[in-house]
Symmetry: C2
Subunit: 290 residues, 2 copies
Amino acid sequence: MYFGAIEAGGTKFVCAVSNEQLEIISRVSIPTTSPAATLEGVFEFFDSYELSSIGIGSFGPIDINKQSKTYGYITSTPKPGWDYFNFVGAIKSRYHVPVAFTTDVNAAAYGEFKQGSAVGSSSCLYLTIGTGIGGGAVVNGEILEGFSHPEMGHLLVRKHPEDQYEGHCPYHKDCFEGLAAGPALEGRYGINGRELASNEKVWEMEASYIAQALVNYTLILRPEKIILGGGVMKQTQLFPLIRAAFAALLNNYVETPELNDYIVSPGFGDNAGIMGSLLLARETHGSVID
Amino acid sequence: MYFGAIEAGGTKFVCAVSNEQLEIISRVSIPTTSPAATLEGVFEFFDSYELSSIGIGSFGPIDINKQSKTYGYITSTPKPGWDYFNFVGAIKSRYHVPVAFTTDVNAAAYGEFKQGSAVGSSSCLYLTIGTGIGGGAVVNGEILEGFSHPEMGHLLVRKHPEDQYEGHCPYHKDCFEGLAAGPALEGRYGINGRELASNEKVWEMEASYIAQALVNYTLILRPEKIILGGGVMKQTQLFPLIRAAFAALLNNYVETPELNDYIVSPGFGDNAGIMGSLLLARETHGSVID
């Protein structure tokens, strides 16, 4: 039996096929262009397998409400061609198998929860900090959903007193994403974040924003584990800075796991999303195809 | 069959007994003094009934981890005599019935979810704004818990540009509770909030802080309903101000229910906590007494 997974990102689609034990037997990376061209690549890859089910972790916003007429769609994205694209519909009409559909960060949170850094917990938070900032969470063993999926990157945060940068979020200017995603580093200093690696001040400010957001996530969700992924977190010098700033801000108000075990890297590294999508595929296998 | 409920607050304990239909047949309010004297009042009230189970919504912090040695305790409260008081143990050793134990705000959230303002949803948030600020939530039909219960009142918020008040939170000074709970109104203006009812500026600033917190709760939890209770929210002129400030801050970034249906009063008014505790009592009835 084979399971299929798609981690659908704004720049690339990663597709994988696994066996029943979720061992990946083949994978491919397809540049995200138009829906038609991108899906053609996906179909070409999946067509060689008899898939039992497919899990999708997608860039958003997406419609995850099964009662909605636009369930399974990517909704109001500014990405040309993709707004109101019926993603699940396109996959189902090709393969006629059950499809699980959630956000890329929910899939990553679920992968880490089931088999990665958060194994043994009943809750976790996965945050990606890269070109954008997004978060997904598991609460009481289930993916956190409500009216729709979270959009945790846009928290309102306090401006660092030495920060002159106005923020780049088109909706909120200086929200968390507007001040701390990759483009903010470039916008503030005029050069790419990777070229700032040795500049301590840069990472102290970055850590102070991340820590603020983590304090708020902690007070609201009380997750057992916070997992930080994405391109900016490749700057691993951030981890101790974030933990120190977090401890200072929280000021022992609530108990957390020991911070080295609480604020951690993904167990699956860059594979958290694809592993979560495979896990969701396996769980949806056997369900009714509607 | 009778169910018992305790809404254990820092100033009073409200106890109630209901029939199987959760109709309250008797209730009493007992001032919170020492644990021994307060429990004596609770026992005197409950002793007249053959209770099948008891639900408790307690002031905190409390230990809700059933694997913990201090499960059922009120933990590190500054309230004299109550720190590390074995609340569930005291009740169980008297009545030998199943006891459900959660925070006062979790109980209120659950009451509103099951039978109050959030009926028909799978998620909601209940926030009380009074002497302190606390929040509880229901996610995918279950009370939100993780490493422990939420402490949503202490979110880090942005200071209002015209606010000279330093905040009264002993842990964080100018967190949400430090700037927006009842004592902040008194600390900022020198008179009790109730005497400020006609001062529009006061409520605009108050609403701006509440709206900030609601934006962050919304982005993280995406609840289907936000229910605002507590003494400060008796100033019902706050509701339209909060909705307007919320809309301006969120700037249509994510969809929410129509704001008049989203940011609402408790369906049970001041009874949300006791009704939630009765519901939890009924659900725990029949479970094993450990």
